[in-house]
Amino acid sequence: MTGLSERLAQLGRFGLEHVQSIGRSGVFLFLAIFSRAGFSNRFSLLTHQLYSIGVLSLLIVIMSGLFIGMVLALQGYNILIRYGSEGAVGQMVALSLLREMGPVVTGLLFAGRAGSALTAEIGLMKTTEQLSSLEMIGVDPLKRIIAPRFWAGVIAMPLLAAIFSLVGILGAAMVGIDWLGIYEGSFWSSMQSSVRLVNDIGNGMIKSLVFGFVVTWISVYQGYDAVPTSEGVSRATTRTVVYSSMAILGLDFILTAVMFGDL
């Protein structure tokens, strides 16, 4: 009997902990977003974060975009050439990049490259008691540390996704037109006749905005909530990447179902 009630208590504790953590992260997000930053240098803080989150992620995003576009073109060509419709490679690459691959792969790279760095940085700040020191001198770490990082992530992610898609399409054009000899006109015209500005590009951008929001949220919260030991920081970093990837893939399904499900 005591064993059973102990089990039940364990389950309850588990549930409470998780609900509590979700609630804490919600309050945390709310405070980070809606607190008025009173710093005169808040734009330079944001610029710094945009640099380390956005600009430094450019290389990996561009390289991955290029290679993914090239691989998509190769694979699509191998299949479509059988039906003599290799011109549709342009359409296939553009749609799969803009609708799915662009936001999702950029989101995963973003979580691995920028999200983990954010968590580690904030977690280490907490471990070395920099956050508490900030509080001691009367500076709110939510405003000073978290908010600029959060906004930088939300701003950088759609831009990175757009760059990813564009570079991917250019890579596909390079492989398809220059290497495989697809007729240039049919490559671009099949793309232009099938891609819609709002339905494809717009929805892709909405997806990447949502992913940027979620990934950055998870990253800064995990860093802020990390157990202040070296092991705790390492755990938090791992959790950031795992949770972000799962959130991206799960949300992607939901968003796709909402956006393209009735087609």
Binding site: T47, Y51, A162, I163, L166, S189, S193
Partner: protein, 155 residues
Amino acid sequence: MRMRTIEISVGGFMLAGVLALLVLALKVSGLSLDSSNKTYTVSAMFDNTGALKPRAKVVMAGVIIGRVTNIELDRHTYMAKVEMEINSKIDNLPLDSTASIVTAGLLGEKYVGVSIGGEVDYIKNGGRFEDTQSAVILEELIGKFLLGSVNKDDQ
């Protein structure tokens, strides 16, 4: 000095992202800046639309002149009512023009082909193609062909 480099590179990054979006919008989606061209609506009744989908193109003489906006079943005649919007520059379709559902290639998409009639009066906004040709269903054709050849063997 270091701050300045960071600012410049961030500016470049933001610009690159916005430019990428712009190129995607203009080059990839084929959005032309004067895409606000006007259209008028025409409908047509078909016995069978095959796999015609909304957004399919409406083509005359190989040139796209509009697209399908809506397909629904008419309760009374049990025919499919296809609504399409036609570029208002093409406002001189004769009343007896024929709308037919054709397939691009063997496996290609279905679209509406318009062939010209001889009437003096033109179809107006909200008008209708009186003369239509339904989609050719490949499976039915194959079925007829198979049946025909089987009968020949029996004789």
